[in-house]
Amino acid sequence: MRRHDLFYKLGVMPTATLGTLELAALLAVARLGNDAYGLAIRRDLASRTGRDYSVGAVYTTLQRLEDKGLLTSRHSNPLPVRGGRSRRHFALTGAGARALREAERHAASIWAGVGKTLRPRLA
């Protein structure tokens, strides 16, 4: 089974406050670290989920996460490759990290008691 299948079917269930794409975007930002800007996040989401989210959808989600205080952002210097526009780099806030841990606990509690044979091995 491919990693993104596991990601969707078993690993990451939306919490009460985070939608599936929001949770996936938070995890992408956590994974990418200093390289977490829009294009890189979108590529990471595509490779892990198998879904090609539009640029507008990804940025709307990232902006919503920033509004919730789960992400923070800063702009780089303008780049010629972006037509003179700057990159916007995202980073997890403390609240964002707590939300991810909460989501993980939530997923674990849902899977508890299912048994080792069915339990997914999250890479």
Partner: protein, 409 residues
């Protein structure tokens, strides 16, 4: 609400293009968040450059357009959420203008005319030819259509007779049939040619299609007409125009089949070539007896089944009416024939004897066919009755038929 830092911008003197700057200004004026626009267009530009290098410019441009379309709703939603009332109004106006423009382009595209592709004779495409039943010159209408079926206003269609009977064909495709026979006429427009057959079947005499009686719910029957050609032989190939004056009583389909709908009478105009005739249709309501008829029940028919020695006595309504019996139960009695001779109170003929009694007088009419009866009666006051009995010894043991009543206003 978390405050977002404004993106750093580069002026036109930098690498940012004039077109991009203009697009930014338009979208910002519609209420879009400048930071979101900078992020979205920056990412698109960066990935476009990457795809151009790896997949080629064409593929990259296709991807770019697709992404713009996919991201559009998100940008619009962002503008709706963040924009001022004035910006929202501008957005609504832009959206409306875009929709109208798109609709107009779509309509223009769908309704555009192409080159002539098809010639159609008459209102419909006569694949098996055009029937002309008139002795007078007839103007045929030819339509020039493009491949999509749009009618072209082109009028320079040329015609000439190719073969068959001699019929004069004018440039305006006016034909005159002087004898029975077929002719092939070729119509030409641009590089398009179409041969069509004209069936000349001029009619000299057209006889009335007569009376058609139905019961409500009965299946449709073909309306027959009696047309005779110049040579005295019946004409069977006919292009008729039929019209029912009250289509709530009966309707005619394209094959000339008459279908009854409700009780009543209707007239049918039959126009074939330059001849006109008519037909009448009466639709009866089926009842079990004549007892308890309402005033609005003007056309009724009741089944009759009598064995030797049996009889029926039914009340009759006041006023004028036709009373008719048909020995065939599958047919509605033919009412309203031609007045023949005066009858007495006894109007019977074998095999059924009809007798009226009370304040009533009847005029008997000729039998439409042997065994049938047709009378015209006037009941001056309530109390009139009709007595129906099977005729005396030597006749049939039983009779099955129907008795029709048609009240006149």
């Amino acid at each position: 609400m978390v405050s977002r830092p404004s993106p750093q911008r580069v002026t036109a003197s930098g690498t940012k293009t004039h077109a991009a700057a203009h697009m930014d200004r338009v979208l910002i004026s519609l209420g879009c968040d400048p930071a979101l626009l900078s992020d979205v267009f920056g990412d698109l530009r960066e990935e476009y450059a990457d795809r151009s290098a790896h997949e080629g410019v064409l593929a990259a441009r296709g991807w770019y357009v697709r992404e713009i379309v996919r991201s559009g709703p998100h940008v619009v939603w962002n503008a709706i959420r963040n924009g001022s009332p004035a910006a929202r109004a501008r957005l609504a106006a832009y959206t409306l203008a875009a929709m109208v423009t798109l609709s107009l382009i779509t309509i223009a595209w769908v309704t555009r005319n192409g080159p002539p592709a098809r010639l159609v004779a008459g209102a419909i495409d006569y694949s098996d030819g055009i029937v002309v039943n008139s002795l007078r010159p007839v103007q045929l209408s030819m339509r020039v259509l493009d491949a999509a079926g749009h009618r072209l206003s082109q009028t320079d269609v040329r015609y000439r007779r190719v073969s068959g009977v001699s019929i004069p064909v004018s440039t305006g495709v006016v034909v005159k049939c002087k004898e029975r026979g077929d002719a092939v006429v070729r119509a030409s427009v641009a590089t398009l040619n179409k041969d069509f057959v004209i069936h000349c079947e001029p009619i000299r005499t057209l006889r009335s299609a007569g009376w058609h009686n139905f019961v409500v719910g009965e299946s449709a029957r073909t309306l027959s007409v009696d047309a005779v050609g110049l040579d005295g032989h019946p004409v069977t190939r006919i292009a008729a125009r039929l019209r029912v004056d009250d289509s709530t009583i009966a309707t005619l389909d394209g094959d000339g089949r008459l279908r009854p709908l409700r009780a009543g009478q209707a007239s049918i105009d039959v126009e074939i070539g330059d001849r006109v005739t008519g037909a009448e249709v009466t639709v009866f309501e089926a009842v079990r007896t004549f007892e308890g008829l309402r005033p609005d029940q003007r056309w009724v028919v009741a089944p009759i089944h009598l064995r030797r020695g049996e009889s029926l006595r039914w009340p009759l309504p006041t006023g004028r009416f036709f009373l008719s019996f048909s020995a065939d139960s599958s047919q509605v009695p033919t009412t309203r024939g031609f007045i023949g001779l005066f009858g007495s109170s006894s109007i019977a003929q074998s095999p059924v004897r009809l007798t009226v009694a009370g304040p009533i007088m009847c005029i008997r009419m000729p039998e439409p066919k042997p065994g049938d009866l047709d009378t015209h009666c006037l009941a001056r006051a309530p109390g009139a009755t009709v007595h129906i009995a099977l005729a005396g010894p030597g006749g049939l043991n039983e009779i099955v038929g129907s008795l029709g009543l048609e009240r006149q206003e």
